[in-house]
């Protein structure tokens, strides 16, 4: 089982590489603005999102996809086309996401994807600023009496097989000269059962996943997730290659969502503020003072459309990952820079 998993992984790796080579030979169609023009022309945006990723992209009760990545797709569609429903969602697997982006089958990739050098340099994905900061850490039962990862010497650690988690854990323990026993399993469900069944002292994974498992198990107060991360995983949406215009829209849509939160512009009050606000920053963001829309090749009310559809960044976070969601994540690093987090927007002027 494990072995086939690894072989399949390798086979997929080879195929991805092959497809990438194929992409080199395919005529380079991407010119500045071509993808954005096509989106406007056909009146529809194709967005690659995750398959069943809680809080990021998963079917709600009515079958419609919901999540913070799905919200980004909606924000893009309402900024470009003025209608958040003009999105075709393509639920992609992790192994095919960059190939689909390269082949032009999806216009935007919003798929709980970490920005890395290789993905930008070799695979030509262009990432916007992050829409979620995650990081590698450990979860332990409160009864273990451990207060920081540094006290985990000689612990048994549950880790997902074939992931960067294995490397992260190895590096962490080695750098501190501590011994540990890894319990490596093939699926998240197996790890879940092993950890809550008491087979390991600590559960290594990204904060968001660990918090999800903790909620799913029910007794949230019996487990601690260390807030000091070993790595930073900035998840960001991306577009492909040379289309500067589409990239600019994606980048500034993300900034505008964050800026709207800082200026207290919400789904509920955006229409009123657009009509009546006297704050120059609000006026500029919402297009009462024109210019931003023209620079991006969008209509001047793009931010109004966007915020009416999905709200500001904070609203989207709380609805999908935070207090309004079953996951109940803290804002943490994802809070605004004014509140000690990492979320910021470059000035929209």
């Amino acid at each position: 089982m494990k072995l086939t998993g690894r072989i399949q992984g390798r086979a997929l790796g080879c195929l991805t590489a092959l497809a990438m080579v194929g992409a080199l030979f395919a005529p380079l169609e991407a010119q500045a603005g071509k993808v954005l023009d096509t989106i406007k022309q056909k009146g529809n945006l194709t967005c690659g999102v995750g398959q069943a990723v809680p809080g990021f992209s998963a079917p709600a009760t009515n079958g419609e996809l919901a999540g913070i990545d799905v919200d980004f797709c909606k924000a893009m569609a309402s900024a470009i086309l003025g209608d958040s429903n003009k999105v075709t969602y393509r639920q992609t697997s992790y192994s095919e996401r960059f190939v689909l982006l390269a082949s032009g089958e999806i216009d935007v990739l919003a798929h709980d994807t970490t920005t890395t050098l290789n993905r930008e340099g070799a695979q030509k994905a262009r990432f916007t600023s992050p829409n979620y900061f995650d990081g590698y850490t450990f979860m332990v039962p409160k009864s273990l009496g451990v207060e920081s990862p540094d006290q985990l010497a000689d612990a048994t650690v549950c880790i997902l097989q074939g992931s960067t988690f294995e490397v992260n854990t190895e590096n962490f323990f080695k750098s501190r000269g501590m011994k540990y026993t890894p319990l490596v399993l093939g699926t998240w469900e197996q790890l879940d059962a092993a950890f809550f069944g008491g087979r390991c002292d600590a559960f290594g994974g990204n904060y968001g996943n660990l918090a999800g498992s903790r909620v799913a198990h029910g007794n949230v107060d019996d487990y601690i997730i260390f807030p000091n991360f070993l790595t930073l995983e900035p998840y960001a949406p991306s577009v492909y290659g040379d289309d500067q215009d589409l990239f600019l829209v994606a980048r500034w849509v993300m900034f505008a969502m964050v800026e709207a939160e800082r200026l207290n512009i919400t789904q509920a009050n955006v229409k009123d503020l657009a009509a009546s606000s006297t704050d120059p920053e609000v006026q500029q963001l919402l297009g009462a003072k024109p210019g931003n829309g023209k620079d991006l090749g969008l209509s001047e009310d793009w931010v109004v459309n966007m915020v009416s559809a999905v709200g500001n960044y904070g609203e989207s976070f709380e609805r999908n990952l935070g207090k309004g969601s079953p996951l109940k994540l803290d804002r943490g690093l994802n809070d605004l820079w004014t509140k000690g987090g990492l979320m910021y927007a470059a000035p929209l002027r």
């Binding site: 997929l12 009760t61 009515n62 079958g63 969602y89």
Partner: protein, 359 residues
Amino acid sequence: MSEIAITPVQRTYPSLKTRMSPYFKPWPHAIITVLGVLLIGYALVSLFGWAVLNATFGHATPDACRAAGGACWAMLTERYNIVLFGSYPAGEYWRPALAIVLVLGVLIASGFRQLWKPALAIAWVVVMVLSLVLMGGGVLGLEPVSTSRWGGLPLTVGLSAFGIVLALPLSVGLALGRRSKIMVVKRSCDAYVEIVRGLPLLAVLFVASTMLPLLLPGGNMIDTILRAQIALILFQAAYLAEAIRSGLDAVPKGQAEAAHALGLPDRLVSRLVVLPQAFRIALPAIINTFIESIKDTTLISIIGLIDVLGGARGAIADGTWMGFYREAYLAVGIAFFAFCYILSLHSRRLEQEFANERR
């Protein structure tokens, strides 16, 4: 002439004691029996406790489920629609449901020999068109539903049923081709079967999904579901061709020679004499390939399609119902088992009928 008394052989049923004795004699057998019964008993009691006694039925909150400690069937009550239909629009569930009923209906009908007539082929074509129209809409006042929202059971049933039905004629061609006297035909059929059988389905699907658009002009226009369907058909055809070829090889040469001697042309020798017999022989192998292909459809998740297993993953991924994967996967497992078991019952009945006929 002396009379021979023919008395019927008395069939005696062994006593309970005789029948039980292999389980208890010699004495090590007794230990194994007792341990085995205890183990199975324990497993059954725990399963019963989990699935029935401590389970939560009907409508309930996730917290109520966790408090009860057993199976959370309430999860399926709340989220069955996602398991069955993926992200298909909520108000239109009758359409995929009807499409599944149609496809399963014609599939089950295909298992009865009385119905093996040209009309059956027409019925398949009609069902294919109807189910596609039902799913896609856009005509007859049905609201259009983009293929990106198709998912769940209709994909599993549709891809495997249409896959096998369309692969069948192709595979007959390939099997006959491999026995052809024309070298070019024979070699190319050989090459096709050997190459396709040598590739993992996962790779075939991945190539169909990601390489096709890069290599073909306008490849982006081919729908992902269609790509998967083509890949499945081409893949199954290679396996089916081998099943059918084994049947063809098992038909005694004398049958074809006798038919030739009666003056039948080659075409009719194949159609009337060899193929029907080959099919009977190859039937278990054909059904076997079909059963495998149903389970293989779960691999389509790698190219971003949501089958019934993907639907189950989606059902437990909305946050609220996270952690209830046992129930979701069990439900999907039961669905797959039911489909496969129906097919194998069909196959067993057909084999029995053929065997009776041959006597």
